[in-house]
C-alpha cells in the first residue's frame, strides 16, 4: 500500500503518480530516473519556445545592426558626415529595442512596451536635436505613442477573448481605422493647427462595413449560437 506524501490519500500499488496532485510515488519499484522523467515532462516544450524566440531575435539583431552599419558607412563615405542615414539608423534602433525587450526581458507586455517606448522616445529626441526640426517630437512621437497604446489594447482584448477567430481580424480592422484617424489628426494639427480629417474617414468608412460583415459571419458560425440564451431578460 502506498500513501501520497502530499495529499495523504491511499494509492493502489500500481500507481506511479498520485492522480490528485501528480506527486510521484516513492516506492521500492520506482527508479529515480523515472521520477525525474515524469516530473520534468513539461520543461522541454517551454525551452523549445524560448529557444525559437532567441534565434529569431538573433536573426533580427544581425539584420538591423548590419543595416545600421551599412547605411552609416555609405553615408560617411559619400557625404563625409551623418546626414540621411540618421533616419534608417533611428528606425532600426527603435525596432531593435522593441524586439530585444520583448524577447530578453521576462516581464509583462505592458512593461516591455513601456520600456521600448521610452528608448524610442530618446532616439526621437536625439534625431530631433541632430536635424534641428521639430517633427520627430510633434509628429513621430505622438504617432508612435498611439501605435503602442492601440497595440496594447489589442493584446489586452485578445487575451480576454475566449474564442479567437474572425473576431480578432475584425478587431485589427477597427484598430487600423482608428489609427488612420489618429495619424491624420496628428499630421493635420502639425501642419495647419486644426484637426481636419479627409482620407482617414474614407479608410474608416470602408473598413467598418467589412468589419461588420466579418463579425456577422463570426457570430453566425460560432458554435451554432443560441440567441435566446445570450439575450434572455
Amino acid at each position: 500500500m502506498n500513501i501520497c506524501k502530499e495529499c495523504g490519500v491511499e494509492l493502489d500499488d500500481d500507481m506511479m503518480l498520485c492522480p490528485l496532485c501528480e506527486t510521484p510515488v516513492l516506492s521500492a519499484g520506482t527508479s529515480k530516473d523515472v521520477i525525474l522523467q515524469i516530473s520534468k515532462k513539461e520543461i522541454p516544450q517551454v525551452r523549445k519556445k524560448n529557444l525559437l524566440q532567441l534565434i529569431l531575435w538573433q536573426i533580427t539583431a544581425v539584420l538591423l545592426l548590419s543595416g545600421i552599419a551599412a547605411t552609416l558607412i555609405i553615408n560617411l563615405s559619400i557625404q563625409g558626415s551623418i546626414t540621411w542615414s540618421i533616419y534608417p539608423m533611428s528606425i532600426c534602433l527603435m525596432v531593435f529595442s522593441y524586439a530585444s525587450l520583448m524577447v530578453l526581458w521576462r516581464t509583462t507586455i505592458f512593461f516591455q512596451v513601456l520600456a521600448a517606448w521610452i528608448i524610442s522616445t530618446l532616439v526621437l529626441v536625439m534625431v530631433n536635436w541632430s536635424i534641428e526640426a521639430d517633427w520627430p517630437l510633434l509628429v513621430a512621437l505622438p504617432i508612435l505613442s498611439a501605435v503602442n497604446i492601440i497595440g496594447l489594447l489589442i493584446k489586452f482584448i485578445v487575451m480576454h477573448l475566449k474564442a479567437k477567430g474572425l473576431n480578432v481580424l475584425s478587431l485589427i480592422f477597427v484598430s487600423i481605422a482608428v489609427l488612420c484617424l489618429i495619424i491624420e489628426g496628428i499630421i493635420s494639427f502639425y501642419f495647419i493647427k486644426v484637426i481636419e480629417l479627409r482620407w482617414s474617414v474614407i479608410v474608416a468608412a470602408c473598413l467598418l462595413p467589412v468589419t461588420a460583415a466579418i463579425l456577422f459571419m463570426y457570430f453566425r458560425t460560432k458554435n451554432n449560437t443560441d440567441f435566446q440564451k445570450i439575450f434572455h431578460t
Binding site: I3, C4, E6, C7, G8, V9, E10, L11, D12, M15, C18, P19, L20, C21, K162, D226, Q228, K229, I230, F231, H232, T233
Partner: protein, 438 residues
C-alpha cells in the same frame, strides 16, 4: 428517457439525457454573485466528510465516474449574456483535486464552479453559490460518499435516502424554486435599519481563516430545551450575546458611534417549507435581532426574543413576501432590460454600499445529518461557510453528526474575540467545547 426537449418554468430548455447541451438562467439568489465575487469574497462554501479511514484513490475515482452524469446542472460554467449571466453545460469530467490550500478558494475563469477535494481522511466538495446552496451541496456529497463506500466494497443493506448515481436527473432538480413559488402582487417586507458590525482590523490577504470546534450534541440540546428553544435559536442567541459583550467592551466614543441593532442572518432551507426537489439555490434568511438602544439584554431575554422572532419569520406567508421582493426586483422592467455591464456595476455598488449592512453576523445550520448504516465509517462532517465580506468579517457554519455538533467560524480579521466570547459563554453554561484542527 426520450430526447424530447423539456421547457422549465424559467424558460431554459433542458435536453435529458445528461450529456446533451443545455443552458439555464441563474436562479434568483445566484444573480448577485457574478457581479460581486472576487479572490477574497469567493462565494464558495465547503462541505467535508472526515472518514474514519484514509481515503483510497481508486474507489474515489470510480465513485466520481459513477455519479458523473447524475448532476448535469452542476457541470456548468457561468457565461455572459447581453442582459444576464447564464449557466452553460460543459461536458467535462468532475474536477478532483488534492486538498492542499486554503478552503473556499475562488474558481478560475474557465473552471467548472464546483470541485471535489481529498486529503488523508477528508473528502470535501466546494460549490460556488452561483450553483447551489448548502442543501443542494449536501445532497451531492451524500451521493458521492455512498458511491465511494460502495466502491470500497461496503455493502449497505438498507436503503439510505440519497439520489441514486445511475438515475436520470428529474426536471424538478433543475428548477428555479424562487421563480416557481413567486406570487405576484404581494407587498415586500419593510426595509430594516442598518446594524452593528464588528470593529476588528482585517487580515492581510489571503484573509480567510477558519476556526473549528466540536460540542456534545446532547449537552447543547439539553441547554436549548432548558430555554425552550431549538439548537439554532440557542446558538443564534449565544452569537448575539457574544456580540453584545464585544460592544460593551468598546470605548465610550466607539459605543456612541456604533449602531445599536444586532441582527443575525439565519439561512432557512426552503425545501422544508415548499415541496421542491430543486438542487439549485433555494434558501432565504430570517433575521432575529436585538436593539441595544432599549438597554442591555440578559441571555434569557435574548433567547426568548430570538425564539419568537424566528418562529414568526419562518411563517410561509412571510417567506412568500421575501420571495416576492427578491424575484420582483429581478423582474423589474428597467433592471431586466439594462445591459449586463451596467447591471453588474449597479449590483456591485448596491452590494458594496448596502449588501450586508443590515446584518451583524451569519449562522448557517445545515442541521443534524445521518447516513444510517454508513455512519460507522464517518467520524464527522464540517461545513465551512463562504468567506464573509469586509462588513460582516466573521460568519459561522454548524453541522451535527452523531454525538457532536461541529461549529466553524470563518473569519477575515486579525481578532478571534467573537469566537472566544462565543465559546467562553458555552463553557460557562457547562458545555464542553473542544477546538479541533481541520
Amino acid at each position: 428517457m426520450s430526447k424530447a426537449h423539456v421547457t422549465l418554468e424559467t424558460g431554459a430548455i433542458v435536453q435529458p439525457p445528461a450529456r446533451s447541451a443545455f443552458w439555464m438562467r441563474l436562479d434568483n439568489a445566484a444573480k448577485i454573485y457574478p457581479a460581486v465575487q472576487n479572490e477574497e469574497l469567493t462565494a464558495v462554501f465547503r462541505l467535508s466528510c472526515i472518514l474514519k479511514d484514509r481515503i483510497k484513490v481508486k474507489p474515489l475515482l470510480e465513485a466520481i465516474h459513477a455519479i458523473e452524469d447524475r448532476f448535469p446542472y452542476y457541470k456548468v460554467k457561468p457565461k455572459k449574456g447581453f442582459f444576464w449571466y447564464y449557466l452553460e453545460f460543459q461536458n467535462e469530467s468532475m474536477p478532483l483535486r488534492p486538498d492542499l490550500t486554503t478552503p473556499c478558494r475562488a474558481f478560475k475563469k474557465d473552471d467548472l464552479i464546483f470541485r471535489i477535494l481529498a486529503k488523508d481522511n477528508c473528502l470535501s466538495v466546494e460549490f460556488s453559490h452561483i450553483l447551489t446552496d448548502g442543501g443542494g451541496g449536501f445532497e451531492f456529497l451524500k451521493t458521492l460518499l455512498l458511491a465511494y463506500l460502495r466502491a470500497c466494497g461496503v455493502s449497505l443493506d438498507k436503503e439510505i435516502p440519497a439520489l441514486k448515481p445511475y438515475d436520470v436527473p428529474s426536471v424538478e432538480e433543475f428548477e428555479d424554486g424562487f421563480s416557481k413559488y413567486f406570487q405576484k402582487n404581494i407587498p415586500s417586507p419593510k426595509k430594516k435599519p442598518k446594524s452593528f458590525h464588528l470593529p476588528f482590523k482585517l487580515n492581510d490577504q489571503p484573509r480567510f481563516n477558519v476556526l473549528m470546534a466540536t460540542l456534545p450534541m446532547a449537552e447543547i440540546y439539553q441547554k436549548s430545551k432548558e430555554h425552550h428553544a431549538t439548537i439554532t435559536e440557542y446558538l443564534v442567541a449565544v452569537y448575539l450575546y457574544a456580540l453584545q459583550t464585544i460592544y460593551n467592551g468598546l470605548s465610550n466614543f466607539k459605543k456612541r458611534r456604533a449602531r445599536k441593532i444586532f441582527r443575525i442572518q439565519v439561512p432557512v432551507n426552503l425545501r422544508r417549507i415548499y415541496p421542491s426537489k430543486t438542487m439549485r439555490n433555494f434558501s432565504l434568511f430570517v433575521t432575529p435581532e436585538i436593539d441595544l438602544s432599549l438597554g442591555a439584554y440578559s441571555f434569557e431575554e435574548i433567547v426568548k426574543t430570538v425564539h419568537h422572532l424566528m418562529q414568526l419569520e419562518t411563517d410561509k406567508k412571510l417567506i412568500n413576501k421575501m420571495i416576492a421582493r427578491n424575484v420582483g426586483a429581478e423582474r423589474n422592467i428597467w433592471l431586466k432590460n439594462t445591459p449586463l455591464f451596467i447591471k453588474s456595476l449597479i449590483l456591485y455598488l448596491t452590494y458594496s454600499i448596502a449588501g450586508t449592512s443590515q446584518y451583524s453576523g451569519v449562522i448557517t445550520n445545515i442541521g443534524k445529518v445521518t447516513f444510517g448504516q454508513a455512519d460507522k465509517f464517518i467520524d464527522h462532517f464540517v461545513f465551512i461557510p463562504p468567506p464573509p465580506n469586509k462588513a460582516l468579517r466573521v460568519n459561522c457554519g454548524v453541522l451535527g453528526f452523531g454525538a457532536n455538533l461541529v461549529m466553524t467560524f470563518g473569519n477575515i480579521t486579525r481578532s478571534k474575540e467573537l469566537e472566544r466570547e462565543f465559546f467562553r459563554f458555552l463553557v460557562t453554561q457547562g458545555i464542553c467545547v473542544k477546538i479541533i484542527k481541520y
